[in-house]
């Protein structure tokens, strides 16, 4: 699907605080709703940017829990539907893997 990229030159107004800004959204990195909302006004319009800027979705669970909620918050600030935002890029390993295990890579022999 084609994701619409928000026109970064179009103003989206000023950040204004909301009463539930202190709500934790990314549980692993303890990133709040307010931090995510503020980042949008700093110019972070994609989920990958939010992740790189704040670490939301970059913790131990790699965004499995908060991904959807971050998307909803960002979309709301941008005034678009969450479906228009691409989710953060999923990357291996899909679950944490101990370095020792990861380094022992087999599979050449049949």
């Amino acid at each position: 699907m084609e994701y619409k990229v928000f026109d970064r030159t179009k103003p989206i107004g000023e950040f204004t605080a909301q009463p539930d800004d202190d709500l934790i959204i990314c549980r692993c990195e303890e990133i709040t709703k307010g931090e995510i909302r503020k980042a949008v006004y700093d110019g972070m319009y994609t989920i990958n940017e939010i992740k790189r800027y704040l670490r939301a979705g970059m913790g131990l669970c790699q965004g499995l829990t908060c991904g959807r909620n971050v998307k909803d918050i960002v979309a709301r600030e941008l005034g678009i539907s969450p479906a228009e935002l691409e989710e953060a890029t999923p990357r291996p390993p899909a679950r944490p893997v101990t370095a020792k295990v990861y380094a022992d890579c087999r599979g050449e022999e049949d």
Partner: protein, 106 residues
């Protein structure tokens, strides 16, 4: 908090009873059940305190995805207790940020 007998499942198949240590305190659980299940049965619900705000956390997804239930197990941090099988003599410690509190080893 264990279910003695379930109307549909009857009695649960469990491994042998084993001893383990939670923050130095001796506890009992069944071999190969998740550490988190043994702790919940023993009434322990706080697995760790978060790094940034020191908030208590416990079981959340129970299938190894959310990583909220991580603890220090046999000295290793960030062990997902909901999918890590309990073994005889395991040392399980509450995780504070990235480590266990000193003095909770034995």
């Amino acid at each position: 908090m264990r279910i003695a007998k379930h109307p549909i499942l009857g009695e649960y198949e469990k491994g042998r009873k084993v001893k383990f240590y939670f923050d130095g305190k001796e506890m009992e659980g069944y071999e190969d059940e998740p550490i988190a299940a043994a702790l919940r049965a023993a009434g322990v619900t706080t697995h760790r305190h978060t790094r940034r705000n020191g908030r208590p956390r416990g079981i959340f997804c129970a299938i190894g995805r959310c990583t909220d239930c991580v603890m220090v197990v046999d000295g290793e941090i960030n062990v997902r207790t909901c999918i890590t099988p309990l073994k005889e003599g395991m040392r399980v410690q509450t995780q504070y940020g990235l480590s266990a509190k000193e003095g909770t080893e034995e």
